[in-house]
Symmetry: C2
C-alpha cells in the first residue's frame, strides 16, 4: 500500500450506530503496577507512590519487539477491547480495531492499553489517597501534563521489559500521548499513529475545557474538590460533559441523531422552559451517565493536562520537536471533525516532512465529527494494519 | 448594483477591533409603549398588560413610507445607535450602520429599533411585575416565540401609524424576526434583510442554548426563577454566556484575540487548576460583564424562543412559508460563521428562488465568526445601502 496524502471518500452510511461487534478477545482483566519511586512531574512536584492501570492482549514475543501501546482520550480508560465479565454488554472502546485478525492483530502483536495518571480509572488521580493525609488528594494532587502521563507509561514499559515499541497509537488526547512518546522517547518507538489529534491545544479547545472546569468548580457540591464522602458535583460534571459532547459531534450527526424532533411530538410544542427537544434529553442522558463512571476532579486534571499540551511551544517549533524523533508516522483525520480539524494533522505532517521523517496523513471523509475515531473502524483499520506492516 | 450570488473577499484586516466610531446620532432616548389589550401568544396564553421598548432615529415622512424596522439578537436591545448620555463610552450596537449618510441613512429613513417581549431591556419579560401577584413573573411568564415577539412589534407599528415598512432588518435572532415579518405580515414589508441568520434553529443551536439554560437552572441561586430580591444566578448566567461567546467567534478570531498566551507568561505555566490562559480570563470577563446587564430568566425565555424557531416546520416547507411573502430579500452570511453558516442562508435563498421571490444572497469573507454581523460594517453597509435603494 502506498501512503500518500489523500482523502478517502466513504460510500457506506455514516457509522453513528456502530454495528454490533463480536469481540475477538476472551475475558480480560485490568492490571496495575504501583511504584514507590517518585515520578518527577513537569511542575517540579513529584508523585509517590503512583499506580498505573493497563490491560494487555496477545503475547510478547521472545525478542520483545512486537509490543504496541494504545493510549486513550479524555474520558477513556485502559479497557480497549473485550469484556471484563461475560455479562458485559459493552465492549472495550476500540474493540473493532483490537483482536485476532483485527488491525491491531493480537495474534501478531502484544497490545497494551495504558491508562493515564490523573485519571479515575485505576491509576493515581485526585480520588486516590494522599499518603500525607490519608484522605483523597482532591484538588491537592499536583497538576499533571501529557509529558507526565507518558513518563509514567515509560515506567510501565520498563516493568514489562519492553525496550522499544513496534508502535504507539491513540486518538484525540491519545494522539497527544503518541506524539509525546515520539519526541520524549524517540529511541523507544518505531511507529506513531496519531488520530484526530493535534500538536497543541487550540485556544478554542482551551475555551471549551475551561468552561467545563468552571461548571464543575462553580457547582457548590464541588467543595474545593473535597466531595468524596458526600454528594458529588453532578450538575457541574454533567454540564462539562454536555459541552464536550457537542464538540465531539458534527452538525450533520446531531441532525441525524435528533434533528428538531420533540419528546412529545404528537402533542406539538409544550411551551415550557424544561427539556423538550430530543437533543436536550439526549444531552441530559450523556451528562447523567457520565456522572456514573467519571470523577469530576479527574475531569479537571485531565482537561488541564490537555490545555498545557503544546509541542511547538515546548521545543520552539514543531520541526524542532520532530527533529528528535526516529519514528515513522501515520496521521488520520476526519473531514467532519471541527474540534481537531484535518488542518491540525496537516500541520504535523508538514513539519515532519520538513525534517525528513516518514509520514502519511490521510483525511477520512466522515460526518461523525471528532467521535469518528471511535466509530469508523473499517477505514481506520485498513490504514492502521497496512502502516503496522511497513514498520 | 447587480445583486448576484457571490462571495466577496475582503483584503483589509479582520475587524476584531472595531475602529473607534464617531456617532452620527445626537443623544437618543429609549421610548416605550404599554398596551392593556392582551397580546395573544402562540402557546395559547396571553400577555396583558405588555410593554415594548424601542428607539427611533430620523423622521417619518408625510406619506409614512420611509420607515425601517431594525431587530436585535439574543442579548441585544433597542439601542442600535448613538448615545443615551453624553458620557456614554459605548455606542449603540449597530452605530456604524445607522445614522446620517450611513447604510440605514437617518436623513432619508425613519429608523426604529424594537426590543422584544421576553427581554430585560425595557419590554415585558420575566423580571416584569405579574399583575396577578404584584411580584416579578420569574418562570411564570408564559413561554414566548419569535412569532409573539413580532406580533407585539406589529402593535408598535400600529401605534406609530406605520402601515407598511420600507424594510425590516436584523442579524442572528434579529434575522429570525425579519423573516417572521415577511411571512406573518407579508403586506407590511417591502424589503427584508436577514443577516447571519437561519429559517430554523439547528439541533446544534438548540444544544448550545439548552446547555446554557441548564447552567442557569442548575445554579442554586436561580431558585426556580424567583431570585429578584436576592443574589442572582451569576455562575449559571456566566457559563451560558461563555458557551454562547465561543459559538459567536471563530477559531482564527480566538487565535488572534488570545492565542495560547498566558496571564503570567513571563513566569511560564503556573500548574494550577485556576484560569491561567488569556482565553480563560477573557471568557471569565465576558461572563461577569454579561451579568451586569442581562437577566438570567430573560436568557432562558429568549433562547427558548430561538429554539422554537422553525419556519419550514410551521408552514410545511420553506417554499410554503415564502409563497406568502411579498417582499424582496437581501441575505448576508459570513464565511467564518459556524453557528449560522452560509448554507443556512443559502437554503433560504434557494426556497425564495423556487417561489419566484426576488432574493440576493451574499457570503462575505470574514474570520470574525458569527459576531461578524456586529463588526463588519463596511461591506455590510454597502450591500444594505444598495438594497434599500432598489426597493
Amino acid at each position: 500500500m502506498n501512503f500518500q496524502q489523500q482523502t478517502l471518500v466513504q460510500t457506506r452510511p455514516p457509522l453513528f450506530k456502530v454495528q454490533p461487534l463480536q469481540t475477538g478477545i476472551d475475558l480480560v482483566e485490568r492490571q496495575s503496577v504501583t511504584w514507590d519511586e517518585p515520578l518527577p512531574l513537569d511542575s517540579g512536584a513529584s508523585l509517590a507512590p503512583f499506580t498505573l492501570a493497563y490491560e494487555a492482549y496477545g503475547e510478547l514475543n521472545a525478542t520483545r519487539d512486537n509490543a504496541i501501546l494504545i493510549l486513550h482520550a479524555l474520558s477513556g480508560d485502559a479497557h480497549v477491547a473485550g469484556r471484563h465479565h461475560p455479562s458485559d454488554r459493552k465492549l472495550g472502546w476500540w474493540d473493532g480495531l483490537v483482536g485476532p485478525g483485527r488491525a491491531f492483530d493480537t495474534d501478531r502483536y502484544f497490545v497494551i492499553c495504558s491508562n493515564v495518571i490523573g485519571s479515575c480509572m485505576g491509576s493515581t488521580g485526585p480520588s486516590s489517597i494522599d499518603p500525607d493525609t490519608g484522605r483523597p488528594y482532591g484538588a491537592r494532587l499536583p497538576v499533571i501534563t501529557i509529558g507526565d502521563m507518558v513518563r509514567a507509561q515509560a515506567r510501565l514499559l520498563d516493568h514489562l521489559g519492553i525496550e522499544r515499541l513496534h508502535a504507539v497509537a491513540g486518538g484525540s488526547m491519545g494522539g497527544f500521548q503518541a506524539l509525546e512518546w515520539a519526541t520524549a522517547y524517540p529511541e523507544r518507538v518505531n511507529g506513531v499513529i496519531a488520530i484526530a489529534s493535534s500538536a497543541r491545544s487550540s485556544p478554542q479547545t482551551i475555551a471549551w475545557n475551561s468552561i467545563g472546569r468552571r461548571a464543575i468548580m462553580s457547582d457548590p457540591r464541588w467543595r474545593g474538590g473535597d466531595y468524596y464522602d458526600q454528594e458529588t458535583p453532578f450538575d457541574g460534571l454533567a454540564l462539562a460533559r454536555m459541552i464536550g459532547h457537542v464538540t465531539y459531534l458534527s452538525e450533520p450527526s446531531l441532525e441525524a441523531k435528533c434533528g428538531r424532533r420533540m419528546l412529545h411530538s404528537a402533542d406539538g410544542p409544550q411551551f415550557t422552559l424544561e427539556s423538550e427537544f430530543q437533543v436536550e434529553s439526549y444531552l441530559d442522558y450523556q451528562g447523567a451517565t457520565f456522572n456514573e463512571r467519571f470523577d469530576a476532579n479527574a475531569y479537571l486534571y485531565i482537561t488541564k493536562a490537555m490545555d498545557y499540551w503544546d509541542l511547538p511551544g515546548r521545543y520552539g517549533s514543531l520541526e524542532a520537536a520532530f527533529a528528535r524523533s526516529q519514528s515513522s508516522f501515520l496521521l488520520l483525520s476526519f473531514s467532519g471533525d471541527w474540534l481537531y480539524p484535518p488542518g491540525e494533522s496537516q500541520a504535523i505532517a508538514a513539519a515532519l516532512q520538513r525534517v525528513n521523517r516518514p509520514v502519511s496523513h490521510i483525511t477520512i471523509q466522515s460526518e461523525a465529527g471528532h467521535d469518528a475515531f471511535l466509530l469508523e473502524h473499517d477505514v481506520q483499520g485498513s490504514m492502521i494494519e497496512a502502516f503496522l506492516d511497513t514498520l
